[in-house]
């Protein structure tokens, strides 16, 4: 019993390394076949082509479903940025997703603002603001916060928001806000169907490319270092907590964008959207697909949602159990997710943008 606080504290710097070790263990056998050709662009290309062609082959109601999946993929991307690249376990990502959804729903309901150029930035801003507030509080400060505190803090935040939304009459209480009017561009209304699908897909592609640029930049390199060994990054003189707060805020903004799209696409928002259920849902997507690769998050969202849609007719009750078993298997035996079947460790870590002059020395030190 006396293995108390001290032991927990000591464990904190070690555990990031520990996770990395666990992670390495699972990926040894993965792809990266003899040729050494890059797998990632191929995977991305296949996903892109499939996504572009989907509405042409799918029936209408499936296109609506596919649109929802794409929005959730965008949401998964936000969690992947935070967990897969910076190693911050955000168990409350739905807080930013849902609060943005509620925000734009209120804009549409009370102020009649549905213009796409107003509501999407507004949703993004709401996500960003909430993430800055929560992330700033949890991550910044004189003493670095433990990963446990951050994950439980975000979880608690999401839970508290859920309770607040349920009890607050202005936000519609248990029922949420129903029948939100459509998003508009001038006089054009985005209704469910191919036009909304391609709009969302376009946004996903843009955000994906921005994220890709971000994680491959020098900032991304610092983040990768943070994920693998936070203490070392701090010793190099990086402000580790600031980096974390920045990426947390960016993740929140992306989640907010996804949340506002989701609100308009579904036409209603309800308390679950800020709560623990959705927060853990996004964790599942990313773990399944493969954290630390952006495309893995997208694939994870598509697979989890797709399979659950497919099974929900006949196996509605069994599906969550299967999901749990699969999740456990992935965590135990494939910690890098399904994408690690085709993607090697080296390519997952990847290379980063040009070195700025002033950090040349630090990078040399970091190399071995």
């Amino acid at each position: 019993m006396p293995k108390s606080m001290g032991a927990v504290k000591q464990a904190i710097p070690a555990e990031i390394g520990g996770e990395a070790d666990v992670a390495m263990g699972g990926s040894g056998t993965a792809g990266q076949a003899a040729s050494g050709r890059k797998v990632l662009p191929i995977v991305e290309g296949v996903v892109l082509v499939a996504a572009l062609l989907a509405p042409l082959v799918l029936q209408d109601y499936l296109t609506v479903f596919a649109t929802r999946v794409i929005i959730l993929a965008l949401f998964a991307l936000s969690f992947d940025l935070v967990w897969g690249y910076a190693g911050i376990m955000s168990f409350g990502q739905a807080l930013f997703f849902g609060s943005a959804g509620y925000g734009v729903a209120l804009l549409a309901r009370d102020l009649d603002i549905t213009n796409i150029f107003l509501v999407l930035p507004a949703g993004t801003l709401i996500g960003l603001t909430f993430a800055l507030l929560l992330g700033g509080f949890l991550l910044l400060g004189r003493h670095p916060s433990s990963v446990i505190f951050v994950s439980l803090g975000t979880l608690t935040g999401s839970y508290a928001a859920d309770r607040l939304a349920r009890g607050w009459y202005y936000l519609g209480g248990q029922n949420g806000i129903p029948s939100i009017s459509s998003m508009t561009l001038g006089s054009y209304e985005f209704s469910e169907g191919p036009s909304f699908y391609y709009l969302v897909l376009g946004i996903l592609i843009v955000v994906y490319l921005l994220c890709r640029f971000l994680v491959r930049s020098q900032f991304g390199l610092a983040l990768a270092g943070l994920r693998e060994n936070e203490q070392r990054i701090a010793f190099f003189g990086y402000k580790a907590q600031h980096l974390k707060a920045i990426i947390f805020a960016i993740g929140g903004a992306v989640a907010g964008l996804a949340g506002s799209l989701y609100a308009f696409h579904e036409g209603f928002v309800w308390p679950n959207m800020v709560g623990v259920v959705v927060s853990t849902q996004v964790v599942l997507y990313v773990l399944f697909g493969g954290s630390g690769t952006l495309i893995g998050a997208v694939i994870g969202a598509v697979i989890v949602e797709g399979v659950s849609f497919w099974l929900s007719d006949n196996y509605r009750e069994v599906w969550p159990i299967i999901l749990g078993v699969l999740l456990l298997l992935v965590i135990l035996f494939r910690p890098l997710g399904l994408i690690s079947f085709v993607l090697g460790e080296r390519e997952r870590v990847g290379s980063f943008g040009a070195r700025p002059k002033e950090t040349e020395k630090e990078k040399r030190n970091a190399a071995p």
């Binding site: 019993m1 293995k3 001290g6 400060g141 990963v147 439980l152 803090g153 935040g157």
Partner: protein, 285 residues
Amino acid sequence: MANAFVAAFEILSFGAIIVLIVLGLGIIASMMGIFNFAQGEFVLLGAYITYLAYAKGLPIWAGMVAAPFVVGALGFVLEALIIRRFYAAPIVAMLGTYALGLIIRETVRGLIGGFYLTVPEPIGGSIDIGAMHISAWRFTIIVITLLVMVCCYLLLSRTNFGLRMRATLENPSLARASGISTPLMYGATFAFGSALAGLAGALIVPVFSLYADLGLRFLIQGFVAVMVGGVGSFIGPVAGAGVIGTLSAALPWVMAPVVADVLVFVLAIVFIKFRPQGLIAGRGV
């Protein structure tokens, strides 16, 4: 006067329930460094076993006695099969135990359907003190909670088993060198924590009735209580649970329940932020 007394009793009994639930969570978190997301589902299982005993026509008491043993045994098996792999990585442990919890919760949901199933109180009626009536079963829960707390404390601080457990957790290699089987001790600790959750579930099911999200309801409150109390000792989480339980039961009497609900969490997180070691930072039992 009578109202104040009833209020105090309500607050006390809710505090006792939270303490009961947090005991197991706290032992696992303090001793093994694992925040067990499946703990809520262990509570649920304890409640389910009690319900089963009732549904089969056995006395409810039998179900309540059986629950901790069954859940403890399950905890032992799960530790050996799965939890053991997570010791190096607390975040992975959270995710893994979350998956476990999901499996258990959805299985129970499949078994009971989406219903709220009631289990009668084994000790019905009320205790009358003058004009005031307090529920006899809630009073029993308070008494049992106190007993369990004292027993746990004595077990950990006074017995050979407790000594071995503490030795294992403080310095595993030295414990191994002294001939203690550390894997067995880890398994026993986890089983013990699970058994406490099972007991908690069995005792609270007459009060809250049985539904699949029963455990989830208390899980986050439990985590917050552990963090507020301080990870690392037996007393810390118990103290935290007392504070959180009392606050969550007391605040709705003075303000709107919604605000109170959220305020408890906000206060707790702010407190932990500025005092990460918790209420009781000391080591030991």
